[in-house]
């Protein structure tokens, strides 16, 4: 029985370590390629070798004293997701306003003013979304670094 428990505990430990370490192994596995790639890119730009070969420094910056994160600049995919959520929320708000009007809660004048303002805000969001999508469609540069698997 003790042997069975020892085997089960060992299996559990191995599975846990494999699950948790997967992103680290993926990142470390691709790190060498990134360094070589970065070095090649830096060489083409004429940057000093030491800075080129430091992938951590390329990715990380100084964090705040307490709180905050190094990446106040969001990934394009993240920004697009946020804008899409904003767009859906604005559409919902416009639909709600229209429903309020049709169910007699808003006067014609109030509806026209509110609806116009909301649609203008929706257009502004669509503009920002289009800009982000344009950036996404542009060729990706190597210095973005590897994206962790599963992130």
């Amino acid at each position: 029985m003790e042997i069975l428990i020892a085997i089960l505990a060992l299996v559990l430990l191995v599975v846990v370590v494999l699950v948790i370490s997967a992103p680290l192994r993926a990142a470390w596995g691709s790190q060498d390629d990134v360094v070589v790639g970065r070095a090649a890119l830096g060489e083409a730009r004429g940057e000093p070798l030491k800075e080129r070969a430091d992938p951590d420094r390329a990715r990380a910056g100084p964090a705040g004293r307490w709180g905050g994160s190094v990446s106040d600049q969001r990934e394009p995919a993240e920004e697009r997701a946020e804008l899409e959520a904003e767009r859906e929320a604005k559409y919902r708000e416009i639909r709600d306003t229209e429903l309020d009007y049709r169910t007699g809660k808003l006067s014609q004048e109030d509806f026209a003013a509110t609806d116009g303002a909301l649609r203008a805000e929706a257009v502004a969001i669509l503009d920002r979304l289009a800009a982000v999508e344009r950036d996404e469609d542009a060729p990706t540069e190597l210095e973005d670094g590897p994206r962790p698997r599963g992130a």
Partner: protein, 748 residues
């Protein structure tokens, strides 16, 4: 397998510690692979705790009394269904359930947000793992679910008879799901403040989990109320159990948050308020958990030992101090983008609703924790009763119900007086008509109850009008038949109309509470067979007594068993077999009650009281067989218009019955419970031959059924609101023009 369980806990603790470090390192340095590794720690934690929970559950089902938790809360005679649920009736098992559910819900939350707000999510991961680590530490150092004893006891103490009630088996997992889900918005809220990213995104991410917490807490509270009504002896709405009151607190702040978050989503307002509500809801959930774990208040759910009180107080203090610090230091980021345009707007109604809900929280918080406060200040424990609660909660409840009818019929931003007049005409008319009808029908003038009925009619009028107008508008726009238009309307606006249905459910529930409180007839008296009593319009007659004996051994294979069977055959009133409530009572004594109204038979009720065995040898070989806590099994005739509720407390302390127990204790060996059961059967036979006067608790309450119906309507409405919207075709809109935006709106 206990060893494997202990290894699981140690491994889980290590995973929590690693995950916290990895998440914080990842977000602080921008090495996101570490943050992802931290997130995966939560998945791993869920897996490890699942293994641990299965080990403990199997131990309960296999009657493995080597586990202390099994020996303390289960027994061979405990019905299998209750054995499976006995895991969370122990301190240790309930801690494991808490941590396990938290790891599962946290995994789901982090999986769904894996591609969004990664910096906020990384901090949230660390906080969730902090909660996990706290609860696992309690299990490692204080209350060990996998602790064993040697030699293995041959029998366990058994599950507390009060907990042998079907809904009690679902009630704790529901409540714990609610509590643990409350910690997810708290973790993301703190994460957003730590990451200094307090835009609308984190609110969108947590909305569904906040709703889930509210939903599960609501179901848990409703099941607890039902259990209290049917099992505990019903102490009224505030006297039921301190733990149920404590569960109401995060539910109320959660309700406030679900309303005020709409204001932030639409207007960018109330950011400080919303983040404070999220943090308060999570903290109150931990306080509710503390109340159960610490045993500081008298509750059937509370676990005796107070060893866990100090760690919980430290955690709560850290949460409160941390929340205040974060909100104060981030207040500049939480500035409001807009102001309320008009007091006649939905924002203003929501704000008023929030203030009433928070006032309710303060009242219930004070009343529930008053015994602790009193003891701390005066050294003497005192408590406040239902009248104190009613003085403050009834007016607040009236305003709340009224607001739930006002909010839906006024527009966002500003409503004109002309529109408001038109929209309030039908609801006010319906409320006044209700008042006239009730007075004309001769309903006694009880101001608060009548006011509640009118408020509920107002809500029903305003929401029905909303549905009707929406359906008519949809029908006119899309050319659909009214029923089709109604379904399409609700499908396309789930949150709005699901929320309206919840409002109706709440109004119905409050009607049940108001009617059953104000117009209830109650009587507590002693009756002998043949005697009767009046309760309201009902006459309840004690027809005859009943008795059943549940042998826990093969009655035909022993001398005692054969004697027992012979005694029971000789006394036809005594039955041999499981008690009517099937909870494993050794002896069950009850009554047959005939209920009539104006001379016409209405129903027959069979209330009983179960007597359970104790593990106390000093009670003697016969005395210990019925020496446990007696539990009343209530008999209810439930109806749409009224409930007739009856409970009996039989008297087994008469000299004749006591003589049987004393004689049995003196002559029968303790080691052979089969022999002792013969004396119990003789006691039952003697009770049936000349039943002594029994104490009865009789209640006739109108509209109690509507409390449960209202609760079900709330659940139905919440399900509609929480259900994901039909998949929206997502277009990559590139156009800049207003015309293209409107085209996008049409397809949204």
């Amino acid at each position: 397998m206990a060893l494997l369980g202990r290894i699981c806990l140690l491994l889980a603790l290590a995973v929590c510690a690693y995950g916290i470090g990895a998440s914080i390192y990842g977000v602080r340095t921008g090495r996101w692979e570490w943050a992802v590794s931290g997130r995966r720690s939560v998945y791993a934690l869920a897996g490890i705790l699942t293994v641990g929970f299965v080990i403990l559950e199997v131990a309960f089902l296999r009657d493995d009394f080597a586990f202390n938790a099994v020996a303390d809360t289960s027994s061979r005679t405990t019905p299998t269904f209750y054995k499976a649920a006995a895991v969370w009736s122990s301190q240790e098992g309930s801690l494991l359930l808490w941590a396990w559910l938290m790891s599962l819900w946290s995994s789901l939350a982090l999986f769904l947000t894996r591609r969004r707000i990664r910096d906020v999510a990384a901090y949230a991961t660390a906080i969730m793992l902090g909660f996990g680590g706290f609860f696992i530490s309690l299990m490692v150092f204080y209350a060990q679910p996998f602790a064993t004893t040697s030699p293995t006891p041959s029998e366990g103490v058994g599950l507390d008879p009060l907990l042998r009630f079907p809904t009690m088996m679902i009630h704790p997992p529901m409540l714990y799901s609610g509590y643990t889900l409350c910690t997810i918005p708290l973790a993301f809220g703190m994460g957003a403040l730590l990451a200094r990213r307090v835009d609308a995104e984190w609110i969108r991410v947590i909305r569904r989990f906040a709703f889930g917490a509210w939903f599960f807490l609501g179901i848990g509270i409703l099941l607890g109320a039902r259990w209290s009504y049917s099992e505990l002896g019903w102490g009224g709405y505030w006297g039921w159990d301190a733990v149920e009151n404590a569960a109401l607190l995060p539910w109320l702040t959660g309700t406030a948050f679900l309303h005020s978050l709409m204001i932030q989503e639409k207007r960018g307002m109330l950011k400080v308020w919303n983040v404070s509500l999220v943090l308060a809801t999570g903290t109150l959930a931990i306080m509710g958990t503390f109340l159960v774990r610490s045993g500081v208040l008298n509750s059937i759910h509370a676990f005796g030992g107070q060893t866990l009180g100090v760690p919980f107080v430290v955690l709560i203090a850290v949460l409160i101090a941390g929340s205040i610090y974060l909100v104060i230091t981030r207040r500049e980021m939480l500035h409001t983008e807009h102001r309320i345009d008009s007091l006649l707007s939905r924002e203003a109604a929501f704000l008023a609703n929030n203030l009433v809900l928070v006032a309710l929280v303060f009242v219930i918080l004070w009343g529930t924790y008053f015994p602790l406060i009193s003891e701390a200040l005066t050294g003497q424990e005192a408590s406040v009763g239902p009248p104190w609660f009613d003085r403050y909660t009834v007016p607040l409840a009236l305003i709340l119900v009224l607001l739930s009818g006002i909010g839906p019929v006024i527009a966002w931003r500003r409503a004109t007086l002309a529109n408001a007049r038109r929209n309030f005409l039908v609801p006010i008319g319906l409320a006044l008509a209700t008042l006239v009808v009730l007075l004309a029908a001769g309903v006694p003038v009880k101001p608060f109850a009548l006011a509640m009925f009118c408020c509920a009619a107002f809500v029903f009028g305003s929401i029905s009008q909303e549905f009707f107008r929406g359906m008519r508008a949809r029908s006119a726009m899309a050319g659909e038949a009214p029923p089709t238009a109604l379904v399409a309307l609700v499908r396309r606006n789930r949150r709005r109309y699901g929320g309206y249905i919840v409002h109706i459910g709440i109004a119905v529930l409050f009607v049940g509470v108001a009617a059953s409180t104000s117009f209830q007839h109650e009587s507590e008296l002693g009756l002998s067979p043949g005697q009767s009593s009046r309760v309201g319009a009902y006459t309840i007659k004690y027809v005859r007594s009943t008795a059943s004996v549940t042998p826990d051994y093969d009655s035909s294979s022993t001398q005692g068993g054969r004697e027992l069977s012979a005694i029971i055959r000789a006394e036809p009133g005594v039955t041999l077999g499981p008690d009517t409530a099937r909870t494993g009572a050794t002896l069950s004594l009850g009554a047959v009650l005939d209920v009539s109204k104006h001379g016409r038979h209405v129903t027959t009720l069979y209330p009983s009281e179960g007597f359970y065995a104790s593990e106390e040898p000093t009670q003697g070989s016969v005395g210990h067989l019925i020496g446990g806590q007696p539990v009343s099994h209530v008999a209810i005739d439930a109806g749409v218009t009224r409930d007739v509720w009856t409970a009996i407390a039989p008297n087994i302390e008469t000299p004749q019955l006591k003589r049987i127990v004393t004689l049995g204790n003196r002559t029968l060996p303790y080691a052979h419970p089969g022999e002792g059961m013969v004396a119990i059967a003789a006691l039952a036979a003697a009770y049936m031959k000349s039943p002594p006067q029994a104490q009865f608790h009789l209640i006739a309450s109108p509209l109690v059924m509507w409390i449960w119906i209202g609760g079900l309507i709330v659940v139905g409405g919440a399900l509609i609101a929480i259900w994901p919207a039909p998949s929206v075709v997502r277009h990559r809109v590139r156009a800049r023009s207003r015309a293209r935006a409107e085209q996008g709106l049409a397809s949204a």
